[in-house]
């Protein structure tokens, strides 16, 4: 494993980062100084540093504080304050963080779920980008398509990000790994996109699994989230000893060879070659990918390795990506047992290279390069933890935790840099920094099954694995301890007088039962399948829209099939309220046949809870599940199955996509919190703006905490 990146070092935010930049910074430094003279003068108030911890739960936090496991947060709570922080409805990360960013509820910013639907086709689409209305046009020459117009992607989030307001007022603003900011909107502030940033394939974590073993299947039969490449271990020199494996890594879609109106299939991606050479003892491999090489032992990760994809020959158009390899198992000669010996090497999703990203991931565009000049390569994929590998069974918990440690180190390096830059030349005066941390959220999702950190007497989770649980039941606590140590670094190094806020977007609960909303809608007569079908899915056109009144796309969303809005709507607007009431009443009355437990705790009509700017795009009903319940992945993407409720046997075992009242987040402050309490996410945005004497933008509804 070669590690040539410069060790993490720091540079004041008012100066160009040291090293690497060469002429660019030499010349630009002068220009920036001139530009700085034209920039509004920073307000003469102490700075604000915010640590945004996704998924930090007030109940778990309080328990760990009481047990003395979070000394820094305990100190912070004592010196300042610690309260729960109301989240938004639905309490999903992209929705909640967009609300924090814009100071608006979902009706204002237009992000209502991870997944939206295209009202014309009913198909699920990412909430990050609006439905395409500007198709690509291209000139065809031979087998190559040269785009001439259209196809531009924009960020679907409306409203004004708070950092734009701060930046215009002269506040020196740096935002690290902010969720929901990809595609990256223009901004004068320094921002780096976080959750929602895709990998090079355009997916959210598509890994590659090189193996000579039988392809594993998931217990629920769902599709694996990665590329499975069944390889042959070859005997290069014919001496009877197998020694090498060739494979390919998929990169971005081969857009120059796909007709603009064609769907992208598995064969439409650019590829880069990779070769693995095995040592004679089968304990390590030498990896050649592009011009980079690495030698890793079984159970180790390589450092980042650069791979290039040629869009057009001879480097006319090429895209750089970077990938890490994990040598899971180096014992070729597989049997039929997927868990037996064999060759299995994992390649991470191909990330954008921060020094030269194929898609913009920061503002200004060069900021990611400036950061990488100091930090070396870092994860650019929005959710860097390899959750898909663990969900799919490619990783066991040990593998997963090993990778989480890499992400944690990445986070710590970036946070130390952010903190040093915050201090800068002016001890934080007139500066605002936000730093996002994913540790707790993803590990609560993945590791809750090993031991409920919230309810000591909780029964075993359906996905509980006895052997693994013994080793990993305290992992979530360790994630809290990691956040505590980050907070300790900040407390110890924060310039005197600066404000420090630690906040989370929501809390957490166990996720033991899958609700299949579309199946429930079918069973209750609101969704009707085409003749001859009882199961199927919305994307594969199995639903009879001429008889369907409501459907589910998204984790908490129910849409009415309303005339004039949906492609083949049948519910007249005048009848909408009655249909919504009937669905809500029935869902609230639903009881789990397993134990009689309430399934849905609260139903909300979007028109009752959202502001009006973009309410028309919202789902009609927001389903607030009770503790332990959540909509299944299958139903979220439009599948209609056989059962309404099933045990959640997935390793994705903790959740927060429920009634917002059961998953509040947290807020810590180094200044005493007023006793009124009752703070919400939007109030944090208002607090930051007020601190810098900046007026809120139209539509911002929060109230400053101080």
């Amino acid at each position: 494993m070669s590690r040539f990146e410069a060790p993490p070092s720091v540079a004041p935010r008012h100066l160009p980062p040291k090293g690497g930049g060469g002429v660019r910074f030499g010349i630009l430094g002068g220009l920036l100084t001139l530009l700085a003279a034209c920039h509004p003068k920073p307000p003469d108030v102490p700075g604000v540093f915010i640590l945004g911890v996704d998924g930090m739960d007030p109940v778990i936090t309080q328990r760990l504080i009481d047990e003395g496991k979070l000394p820094n947060l305990a100190k912070l709570a004592k010196a300042g304050g610690f309260e729960s922080l109301a989240t938004v409805n639905p309490p999903q990360s992209p929705v909640a963080w967009s609300s924090f960013v814009t100071g608006m509820d979902p009706g204002g910013h237009g992000i209502f779920d991870f997944v939206h639907r295209d009202p014309k086709t009913y198909k699920p689409i990412s909430s990050a980008t609006p439905p395409s209305t500007d198709p690509t046009k291209a000139i065809e020459i031979g087998d190559t398509y040269f785009p001439i117009s259209g196809g531009a992607v924009s960020n679907n989030r409306g409203g004004v990000p708070f950092w734009d307001l701060l930046e215009k007022a002269g506040v020196d603003t740096e935002i690290y790994r902010i969720p929901g900011n990809y595609p990256v909107p223009d901004s004068g502030a320094k921002t780096l996109s976080g959750m929602g940033t895709s990998d090079m394939r355009g997916g959210y974590g598509v890994y590659t699994w090189f193996t000579d073993k039988p392809i594993p299947t998931k217990p629920d039969g769902s599709k694996l989230k990665g590329d499975i490449e069944v390889v042959t271990v070859e005997d290069f020199d014919g001496d009877g000893v197998v020694d090498n494996v060739h494979g390919t890594l998929k990169g971005p879609p081969d857009l120059f060879h796909i007709a603009p109106d064609a769907e992208i299939t598995d064969n439409n991606y650019l590829t880069a070659g990779v070769t693995f050479w095995l040592d004679k003892d089968r304990t390590s491999i030498y990896i050649q990918a592009g011009d980079d090489t690495a030698l890793v032992k079984e159970g180790e990760w390589s450092d980042w390795m650069k791979v290039s994809y040629e869009g057009l020959p001879h480097g006319v158009v090429s895209y750089d990506g970077m990938v890490r390899f994990y040598a899971k198992q180096l014992k070729p000669g597989a049997g039929e047992d997927p868990k037996g010996p064999g060759f299995a090497v994992y390649a991470s999703p191909v990330n954008f290279v921060p020094s030269n990203p194929a898609q913009q991931i920061s503002t200004p565009k060069t900021w990611s390069e400036d950061l990488s000049d100091i930090l070396g390569n870092f994860y650019t994929q929005g959710m860097p933890e390899e959750t898909n590998a663990l969900k799919d069974g490619m990783f066991d918990d040990d593998d997963y935790i090993r990778q989480v440690a890499l992400v944690q180190q990445d986070t710590r390096n970036m946070m130390e840099l952010a903190l040093a830059r915050f201090k800068g030349d002016h001890d934080g005066h007139g500066a605002m920094t936000f730093m996002y941390v994913s540790d707790i959220d993803l590990q609560c999702h993945m590791l809750w099954r090993h031991g409920d950190p919230k309810y000591a007497d909780a029964p075993h989770h359906p996905a509980w694995e006895e052997k693994s649980a013994a080793k990993h039941k305290l992992d979530i606590e360790h994630m809290y301890e990691h956040v505590d140590s980050l907070a300790g670094d900040i407390i110890d190094n924060l310039p005197k007088g600066s404000s420090f806020l630690l906040m989370s977007d929501h809390g957490f609960q166990p996720y033991t039962r899958d609700v299949h909303l579309n199946t429930w809608l079918r069973d209750n007569g609101y969704l009707v399948m085409k003749a001859g079908k009882t199961t199927g899915s919305i994307p594969t056109d199995d639903v009879d829209w001429s008889k369907t009144k409501a459907y589910n796309i998204g984790f908490n969303a129910i849409y009415l099939n309303e005339t004039g809005r949906e492609g083949q709507g049948i519910v007249a607007p005048a009848d909408a309220d009655a249909v919504m009431k009937a669905i809500s009443d029935k869902l609230l009355a639903q009881r789990d046949p397993k134990d009689g437990h309430v399934v849905v705790r609260k139903m909300a009509r979007s028109k009752d809870i959202y502001s009006k700017q973009r309410e028309a795009e919202a789902p009609d009903l927001i389903v607030g599940f009770d503790i332990g319940y959540g909509n299944s992945d299958q139903s979220t993407l439009g599948e209609i199955g056989t059962e309404e409720l099933t045990d959640n046997t997935s390793r994705w075992s903790g959740n927060h996509l429920m009634d917002p009242d059961v998953v509040p987040g947290v807020i810590f402050s180094n200044e005493p919190l007023p006793p009124a309490g009752g703070y919400g996410l939007l109030d944090v945005t208002a607090t930051v703006l007020k601190h810098f004497h900046v007026d809120p933008a139209t539509g911002m509804t929060g109230k400053s905490i101080y």
Binding site: R3, G20, W277, K280, S284, Y286, T293, L295
Partner: protein, 270 residues
């Protein structure tokens, strides 16, 4: 080639880094300027100064014709052809001097790169030592001897196409000499971890590339090994990109700059 490199090393190790390697800017300024002045004087001596002046004059005359008689298409074409012919003549006059000056200029540049383009490996780095065998030689029996304080962290992986790779780890900063062996053949290689900036060895080879890496002696032409190398970090250089590109930047900016600035005072027709 070995003798030539040894001679150049002897000379440049004496004259470069008079204040140590920390002050890279001194050598990266002084020697390109000196090389530019020396090149200017050599150029004056070995070039056809009258011919160059005449060719430049010819180019200017024909370009002026193009501007003045731009409405006369045939005249413009003829003048363009003549300007290009004069340009070719000018380039021809420069060919000889370029051949004369290239070796010493390359030598200076290569030595500056060896001294200032690379940084020692971080003390906690785990670099790869990569060995490429001579054509026809297999790598599977190659072994590595490491000195005290350096350990083999992983490997070797011997590839059937003639490579052998080890991953190394040092206990403490320092220059470690490892020995690669294949039967009776044995060659050493220095690997620099941590410490002050210094002349950093990158690779030993018996190909033409040896001239580019003078920090260590080339491998013998009959060696079992073709190349022994480690990748090292680039050194950070002020105002220019890191590493080789930065040294090239300094060299060309200051050698060409000084040459152009001093050509008139020194009476050199460029």
């Amino acid at each position: 080639m070995t003798s030539l490199i040894a001679f150049l090393n002897t000379v440049f190790d004496v004259i470069l880094a008079p204040f140590g390697h920390r002050l890279a800017a001194f050598d990266l300024l002084i020697w390109p300027v000196a090389a530019g002045i020396a090149a200017l004087l050599v150029y004056k001596k070995v070039s056809n100064q009258k011919g160059i002046a005449a060719a430049k004059n010819g180019i200017q005359v024909h370009l002026l014709e193009i501007v003045l008689y731009k409405d006369d298409l045939v005249g413009v074409l003829v003048s363009t052809a003549r300007a290009m012919a004069q340009n070719g003549l000018y380039l021809g006059y420069n060919l000889g001097p370029a051949v004369v000056m290239m070796p010493p200029m390359t030598a200076v540049l290569v030595e500056l790169v060896a001294h200032y383009a690379y940084a020692p490996l971080p003390a906690d780095a785990t670099p790869l030592l990569e060995v490429t065998m001579a054509p026809g030689r297999a790598s599977k029996d190659v072994t590595l001897d490491v000195p005290k304080g350096l350990t083999v962290d992983a490997g070797p992986v011997a590839t059937p196409d003639g490579m052998a790779v080890w991953r190394l780890k040092a206990d403490a900063p320092g220059d470690y000499v490892v020995t690669v062996k294949d039967g009776a053949d044995a060659e050493s290689k220095t690997i620099a971890f941590g410490g002050e900036p210094r002349k950093i060895p990158v690779q030993r080879t018996n190909t033409w590339e040896a001239i580019l890496y003078p920090a260590e002696a080339p491998l013998p032409s009959d060696s079992a090994f073709q190349t022994i190398s480690t990748k090292v970090p680039n050194r950070e250089l002020t105002f220019f990109p890191d590493g080789e590109d930065g040294v090239l930047g300094w060299f060309f900016l200051f050698s060409l700059g000084s040459g152009f600035l001093l050509s008139k005072p020194l009476g050199v027709e460029l």
